[in-house]
Symmetry: C2
Subunit: 348 residues, 2 copies
């Protein structure tokens, strides 16, 4: 079978490898239908972070269950599923508390290779999210939205949940990548009435408005902060979604909160240390981390897509075949794509 | 009138000064009945932090309204009130969001001098909390509990609220000073069923149990962490109340959280910078700061004291007259008192 493989920074390839097999009772083998490239993949594609050469790539997909282990009864061969990047067991303290992104029953190395024809998926009994019917029952738009539920939409929603957005909140979303854009959808789902998107690029500003942003701020740093304070009559925001992870974006987040507001962050932190005393003196909360994909998909997101209430699949504005994986990465690297969709197999 | 005055580290004195007067329409003059010494006062008493020599001291009291400004209608002369250390206006975005400890309508320098016969109190219309009846209607125990509502009980409750303690939570309280002990009361009020108190001193352990602690851990640092993990079957706590503020206590807090748990901190941070990436990867939240005294007292705490549900006044285990203010500070400095009560005027 074919699988996307990291060669060296800037270079991807499609390689032939053996089809995976069920290794544990709790495994499932998934035939991948669609996968995609994540903004976080650019860290190693650009050589900023390290990745093992010849490692398989991708961590978001939708697919068809091909085979299941003996302990897997929740899904069966032929089922159409969202394949999340998380692998919640559904039984540990983290999963039970709704934080399946931090499941304590994980398996090292079992979370790559989604950009390939088949995938071995662990903790399949609880973590996979069954979609009613089969791929051919849905429009392209809805299929793309299902794919967004494997990571990016759940991650944007996690930013909004972590920031404790509630009915009538005034929210600021920092970052206009696919996650930030999905954060806007998440804030709207939770009832925010004012959503200020900090976005510099015209195409993304347009999508931000479509997703529910009521105001756009193109400025960054001190100018952006001043603009938020002006728009909120100097009160600051009730909730801030930090979807970048840089020192500057965290600094901005802290400075635009009203006392008692919460920063919900999902951008991988660029720097370990930060000044949390400044947060203390304003009672500003800091929450966030890895999204609870299965929890959110089952609780709210899949239903919202099926009802047509949300269309996160619109973040995929470029489409590639698996064979063209190099172009899929390059389009994101050059900011030509907000997010690159990868067609892996044709639908039945 | 008499007022306690800071002379130099280790030395307090009672000085004569002019009785304060109403300066603004929103002021009230309070005749102080009882005041007390706060653990945070030890920072400057010990010379660790700076304080202006000859400055008046104290920030917690109960008293009788002596006079009010023209805009104050919520209380009138003769009313018995809790005099919080906070001065919420009740109208700014912070107060409206329930964070009156961060009221944006404050006045510089207007929050000292509670250890004295009379006090000018700003934002009196909203911030003061009226107690039914008069001091002589209540037992010593209940009067002490009213006094605790001026800061320490509200601050302990803030730790529990910030840590997002809910029904059936497993909670760890770090710190067995008066605030930590009140944190136990707060956690219980919010429905925690398991409350693990990290406490080293026997007298405080006893009070912790009385207040609702189900388990006591005397060890600190790595040994204390191991003990918490053992008691929670390696899951970690749902909520951690950090009532110390040192680097070690914050480190402990972060290491005993289950994924997704929240640290509610009220200990003034000893160090500005901390590693928040470690929190990110476990979805651990960090909240807390200055307590919302008026909000909590009006919403829940005064009622709980009046009904006899909570007895935070038990943290006062030593009592002094205002003239003996030096001894009141020394008793806390030497850990002879958990918290020193200061009798300012006799009750009518």
């Amino acid at each position: 079978m074919k699988v996307a493989t990291f060669i060296e920074p800037g270079t991807m390839a499609i390689k032939e490898t053996a089809k995976p097999v069920v290794e544990k009772d709790t495994d499932a083998i998934i035939k991948i239908v669609r996968a995609c490239v994540c903004g976080s993949d650019l860290w190693w594609f650009r050589g900023i972070s390290k990745r093992e050469p010849n490692s398989t790539t991708g961590h978001e997909a939708i697919g068809i269950v091909e085979e299941v282990g003996a302990a897997v009864t929740a899904v069966k061969p032929g089922d159409f599923v969202i394949v999340p990047f998380t692998h919640g067991c559904g039984e540990c303290a983290a999963c039970k508390a709704g934080f399946d992104g931090n499941c304590t029953n994980r398996e090292a190395g079992a979370n790559g290779g989604y950009q390939g024809e088949y995938l071995r998926f662990i903790n399949a009994q609880w973590a996979l999210i069954k979609i009613p019917g089969k791929p051919a029952d849905y429009s392209e738009t809805i299929l793309n939205s299902f794919l967004a539920l494997a990571d990016v939409m759940a991650t944007g929603f996690h930013a909004a949940k972590s920031a404790e957005v509630v009915e009538a909140s005034t929210v600021v979303v920092i970052g206009d990548g696919a996650v930030g854009l999905c954060g806007i959808i998440g804030a709207k789902l939770l009832g925010a009435t004012r959503i200020i998107a900090m976005s510099k690029y015209e195409e993304r500003q347009k999508l931000a408005r479509e997703f529910g942003a009521t105001d756009i701020i193109a400025e960054r740093g001190d100018k952006g902060i001043a603009k938020v304070m002006e728009l909120t009559h100097n009160d600051g925001a009730d909730a801030v979604l930090e979807c970048v992870g840089t020192e500057m974006s965290m600094d901005t987040a802290a400075k635009i909160c009203r006392p008692g507001a919460v920063i919900g962050r999902v951008g991988v932190p660029q720097k370990n240390e930060m000044n949390t005393s400044a947060l203390f003196w304003q009672n500003i909360g800091l929450r966030g981390g890895v999204a609870s994909v299965t929890t959110y998909d089952k609780e709210i997101l899949l239903d919202a897509v099926l009802k047509g209430e949300i269309e996160p699949g619109k973040v995929f504005n470029k489409q590639f075949n698996l064979d063209d994986i190099q172009a899929a990465y390059e389009a994101m690297d050059k900011r030509e794509a907000i997010k690159s969709l990868v067609i892996v197999s044709q639908m039945d």
